[in-house]
């Protein structure tokens, strides 16, 4: 983390695109995105209600729901524009929905065309087409319309079921 932060500062202050190209630590750009995989855990509160919190994935078996979380943070000094996070859904998982509190992603069933799930179609074995279901989703993508200012951060997350 220390190394990453310094390299980010250097790049940010010098603002040299060349430095980015030559630096092998490409991930050390001004935007830091960390991926986490969590499971939902229901916690009973004293007032009798249950709240859902995220816990580390100790136990995941087929049929279980997991939550993939992407945390982004602008560690540079410049605002970042046109931020796009494209998360291919791991093959062994079936996409379900955006996680609680996360913006709805655009989804894709082929990794090329993105949109709302309801607008996507999948070719069938018979040669026709059918509306895409969450099981068909191969990629989820979030696009930020507004720039991420220096130091700003946020989170996207989606739920998927282990096949």
């Amino acid at each position: 983390m220390f190394y990453t932060t310094t390299s980010v500062r250097r790049i940010a202050t010098t603002a040299l695109a060349a430095a980015l190209v030559t630096a092998p630590a490409y991930a050390g750009g001004p935007i830091q995105v960390s991926s986490k995989v969590m499971v939902e855990k229901k916690v009973a509160a004293k007032d009798g209600t249950t709240s859902v919190t995220l816990a580390p994935t100790k136990k995941v078996v087929p049929g279980d729901k997991v939550v993939f979380v992407l945390d982004y943070r602008n560690t540079g000094a410049q605002p970042i524009s046109n931020l796009v996070l494209d998360n291919p859904v791991p093959q062994q998982l079936a996409y379900r929905s955006p996680a609680q509190g996360s913006p709805t992603p655009e989804v894709s069933v082929d990794g090329k065309t993105y949109g709302e799930l309801a607008t996507l179609r999948v070719r069938t074995a018979a040669g026709g087409q059918r509306p895409a279901s969450p099981d068909d989703v191969t990629n989820v993508r979030w696009r930020l319309a507004s720039p991420v200012t220096a130091g700003a951060h946020g989170q996207f997350a989606f739920q998927a079921v282990l096949k």
Binding site: A15, A17, L20, Y26, A27, G29, P30, I31, V33, S34, S35, K36, V37, P56, T57, K58, K59, V60, V61, P62, G63, V66, F68, L70, Y72, G76, Q78, P79, I80, S81, N82, L83, V84, L85, D86, N87, P88, P90, Q91, Q92, L93, A94, D110, V122, R123, T124, A125, G127, S133, D135, D136, T138, V148, L162, K163
Partner: protein, 382 residues
């Protein structure tokens, strides 16, 4: 549990990842075949699979496009232990007293997301009411064998494995309980239970140890393959032979004494063969005449043999047994000849005459179901 539509998409997506889009149609049609052949949950992700997730990130800084990747998060798919064990025969096995090696059949299906062993044992303490009838005898020499050659039938000497080795996900195998029926008494029903325990796999030919579910409160459970029991209560809530999520299964079957007795009848006829006056032509029962007695044993129960049939007949008063005339064999033509056998006995049959008790004894080892055997002997009238 994954359903068919899900399977379609799993294959669909895997193929899409591997091949170009233009051959997708062809592969989709192949997938449809796979889905209908019952491989539906073969697609459950195998335990131990490491699943990684990385997002691709693009952005611009001062109008310059940049790209990077997120960190990669991973988790390991844990072992969801699940299987079924069911009786694989329509009714109790019909047995006879003294039957050796009587078989009941069971089927075990591994629905775990990974190959594993199963330990097997049998029991005769079966919960009351789980099967019709009240058991009144126990089998002896009870053993459990696996259908090693996979033909669905117990083959003595071939199916000798006593545990299930490396059963693949979604694969099934037959298991047999083999035992001996008591030789005496008048019992009706014995019940048996097949008990299976999920055991660790991984080594072909090696009997694994029973699996123990991982205590998820322990630390460092994230990147190891945890064991999670997901098996059902195989004998229902009413019975405590098995409970849900214990990594064990149980199924029950029975042995029923089918045929205990046969409809055995004996018919006795007498025919004068000759007398001293008329000789062989229309002989009368005069003193000195020879009389043939004919005993016919009939087993009217089809398909069931009567064993060790012993006929005894006391020679009537005022008659004398003619030595060497005892004949045992298949019945002859009615009214003409008692047996088809020549004087003497057909192989296997034995006969004797006791001069003291004046008793004729004929021993017939087997009277097959639906057949008759005849015995004849001659006396002279004093």
């Amino acid at each position: 549990m994954t359903t068919d539509p899900t399977t379609t998409t799993i294959f669909n997506r895997e193929y899409k990842a591997m091949f170009a889009n233009k051959i997708r149609l062809l592969l989709l049609s192949g997938t449809a075949v796979l889905a209908t052949t019952g491989t539906a949950h073969a697609a459950e992700t195998v335990a131990g699979t490491v699943i990684s997730n990385t997002a691709q990130v693009t952005y611009t800084v001062n109008g310059t496009p940049q790209s990077t990747n997120s960190t990669t998060s991973t988790f390991v798919v844990d072992r969801k232990v699940n299987f079924t064990v069911v009786v694989d025969q329509a009714a109790n096995t019909k047995v006879n007293l003294g039957q050796v090696g009587a078989v009941t059949s069971f089927k075990l299906t591994n629905t775990t997301n990974g190959a594993q062993d199963f330990l097997l044992d049998s029991a005769q303490a079966v919960p009351i009411g789980i099967l019709p009838g009240v058991p009144d005898f126990t089998m002896s020499n009870l053993k459990v064998f696996v259908d090693s050659n996979g033909n669905g039938v117990y083959d003595p000497g071939t199916d000798t494995a006593t545990f299930i080795d490396e059963l693949a996900p979604d694969a099934s195998i037959e298991v047999f309980i083999v035992g001996d029926v008591p030789t005496t008494g008048s019992p009706n029903l014995a019940l048996v239970a097949l008990h299976a325990v999920a055991a660790s796999g991984g080594a072909t030919g090696t009997k694994g140890t029973a699996l123990i579910p991982t205590d998820l409160n322990l630390g460092n459970a994230d990147n190891t393959v945890d064991i999670v029991f997901a098996d059902n209560d195989s004998d229902g809530l009413l019975y405590l032979g098995d409970i849900a999520r214990n990594g064990q299964g149980i199924a029950y079957s029975g042995y029923e004494i089918g045929v205990r007795n046969v409809a055995l009848t004996v018919t006795k006829t007498a025919r004068v063969i000759s007398d001293d006056v008329n000789l062989l032509v229309n002989p009368k029962a005069l003193p000195g005449a020879t009389v043939e007695y004919c005993l016919t044993v009939n087993n009217a129960t089809l398909l069931t043999s009567a064993s060790n049939v012993v006929l005894t007949d006391v020679v009537p008063a005022n008659t004398t047994f003619v030595p060497g005339t005892l004949t045992i064999g298949l019945p002859g033509v009615l009214g003409v000849t008692c047996t088809l056998a020549a004087l003497g006995t057909t192989t296997g049959y034995t006969g004797a005459y006791d001069t003291t008790s004046k008793t004729v004894t004929a021993t017939i080892p087997t009277v097959l179901g639906g057949t008759s055997v005849a015995a004849s002997f001659r006396v002279t009238i004093n």
